[in-house]
Symmetry: C2
Subunit: 350 residues, 2 copies
């Protein structure tokens, strides 16, 4: 495959003449190859139908995603660290939670997270429902308990009613587990179709010469080995520093990654390959959130994972290509949340 | 006026027979009287047209209202303490800001705030634009500076473009002042028409017997003296404890209210009369945010401001009436905010 493509790569990277040399055949070949590695993000309606996502659960999940009373302080919601307005993340190095405590890792985007094989940087949650339960209970994040959540939601008639509609088979519809299931349903709708790359995949000539060169480099230089599939990552686990470990500023020694989940020596400093959809919107990068510049992140990946010093042109073209992975951001109407009652637990900010 | 109405009041508060006695004439009289004290919230389109609110400024203001990069930490926006999903406030005793510091007072609702004569509990800002500049700079809130805001917004091309559209006459459209003007334009659209009381004002029989009794009490007992106009308050300043000061838990001695603005002895413990629209959504109450129960708040107002022990029935009916002031909550689409660039200042969480 590499041999076949190198013609494209060469023809694209020889300066001015590249444009004329990027013949239709070459682009068609690259498109064909891309289809073997990547899949487009579907339209929301298609996903909802294919996965039979229940609209009532989605509606309930929308309330819960923005619900600050799930936190002990009543001021932190899922959206605080996974804001739908800023690429599905908070775009600071590590999240700030209850009591202004700093979390251990950079907040991953919620956008397209439904397509990841597992959740969190170490993949410790199998799906979005399991994931949703984590930050709510983490003392450095929302600092609540399942009991707090259930008592809170049961104290508010509108929630009781909507849970009953969303989970009509359940004897006790308002539960921590059902809360997570509803949040998962809403999050499944937070996908970003129509990225320029996806239109390219579909057969349109939406990419510039530089972006085509970047795609070619992305495949031929080996980025695709970890970052493939519908999400350009999020499917497997790899050591950060396959070839050369980056400095402790970027790879802090105390965070041993997936080792902390599996307790297996070979999992030291192993992390989930970050999904690259909308990556241009969610600096800073890596689990440590210490790299602000996407070009720098690409260069670091070259040395640490591929064992190669990417040239300036390669870095720039790959970065340009990554920008084509930005899709239509979800349009979310802010939910009108029901008022607390006398039985609703009061906030405990400290 | 009181004499005229007392018939209505009496007829309404004698138990079961009240319903039949609340003749059309009595209700009509009460409605007529109410029209002298109160005005309905207009539909958004009407307000926008009457005040010539510029839709481009509204759109820019929507971005800015949800823009966490206006804060030093990049995690606090206007919506953090004035959430459009929870009655326009944060519904905790006092707001929590930068570094998890507690602010001095309960966050007032942004909903219908455009109709207030002045902003803040002590009225120290003449309008919403002036108000918007306060929390952004307050070290216990967003902890930023006008320079931080301007450098940030100028670093993001999409903002530069939208500011230029919203302020086409300005040589330097991106400015702290214009930011405030745009936020004010957006906030002017955050109004809540169609409250049941407003429908009553318009001639419909939307209020129950108890609510009618509550309205009657609200007027005849004297609540209306401070809480009148379109917002049922927000128009004038009054001492908290006209007749009897509440305890220090509710009226902390160190917060001397408007005195801190005017330095005039007669302004000690003087506060703006809280606007009561949507009051059922925004517990806890008063500037100290120490009272969670609306009935308790009503009873406290009786003793502290009116010098009367309201009966249980009076408290309950007034509270029931206050619930009729909840209008249609604004439907706000979460803005998709543009990405930072290399020139965007990074967050300084501490």
């Amino acid at each position: 495959m590499k041999a076949r493509l190198s013609t494209v790569a060469l023809s694209l990277m020889c300066g001015f003449s590249a444009q004329s040399m990027a013949s239709e055949v070459d682009t068609a070949q690259l498109r064909e190859l891309s289809r073997q590695f990547f899949q487009p993000i579907p339209q929301v309606e298609v996903l909802v139908q294919e996965r039979q996502v229940d609209p009532t659960k989605v509606e309930l999940g929308r309330w819960l995603f923005f619900e600050p009373r799930l936190s002990a302080s009543h001021i932190i919601s899922c959206n605080t660290c996974h804001s739908v307005g800023t690429g599905g993340a908070d775009n600071i190095p590590v999240s700030i939670g209850h009591g202004w405590q700093k979390g251990p890792r950079n907040s991953p985007t919620v956008l397209n997270a439904v397509f990841n094989a597992a959740q969190f940087w170490d993949g410790r949650a199998a799906d979005l429902a399991e994931q949703a339960k984590g930050p709510i209970q983490a003392s450095v994040e929302m600092n609540a308990t399942p009991e707090h959540v259930e008592v809170t939601l049961r104290s508010i008639p509108e929630y009781v009613e909507l849970f009953a509609k969303a989970f009509p088979q359940d004897q006790e519809p308002v539960s921590f587990d059902n809360m997570a299931t509803a949040i998962e349903a809403f999050e499944a709708t937070l996908i970003t179709p129509n990225a320029r790359f996806d239109e390219f995949l579909a057969g349109k000539d939406t990419l510039s010469v530089t972006e085509i060169a970047g795609l070619n480099n992305f495949i031929n230089k080996g980025c695709v080995a970890c970052h493939s599939g519908i999400n350009f990552g999020g499917q497997g686990y790899f050591p950060f520093g396959v070839v050369k470990r980056p400095g402790a500023d970027i790879l802090p020694v105390e965070d041993r990654g997936r080792f902390m989940v599996t307790n297996t020596a070979s999992d030291e400093y192993v992390f989930r390959a970050g999904p690259l959809r909308n990556i241009a919107l969610t600096a800073p990068y890596f689990h440590s959130g210490e790299v602000w510049d996407l070009e720098e992140a690409v260069a670091i990946m070259g040395t640490s994972q591929l064992g190669t010093e990417l040239t300036d042109d390669e870095v720039k073209s790959i970065t340009a290509f990554l920008h084509t992975l930005t899709g239509d951001q979800p349009e979310v109407v802010y939910p009108t949340l029901p008022a607390s009652t006398k039985d609703t637990p009061r906030p405990s900010p400290m």
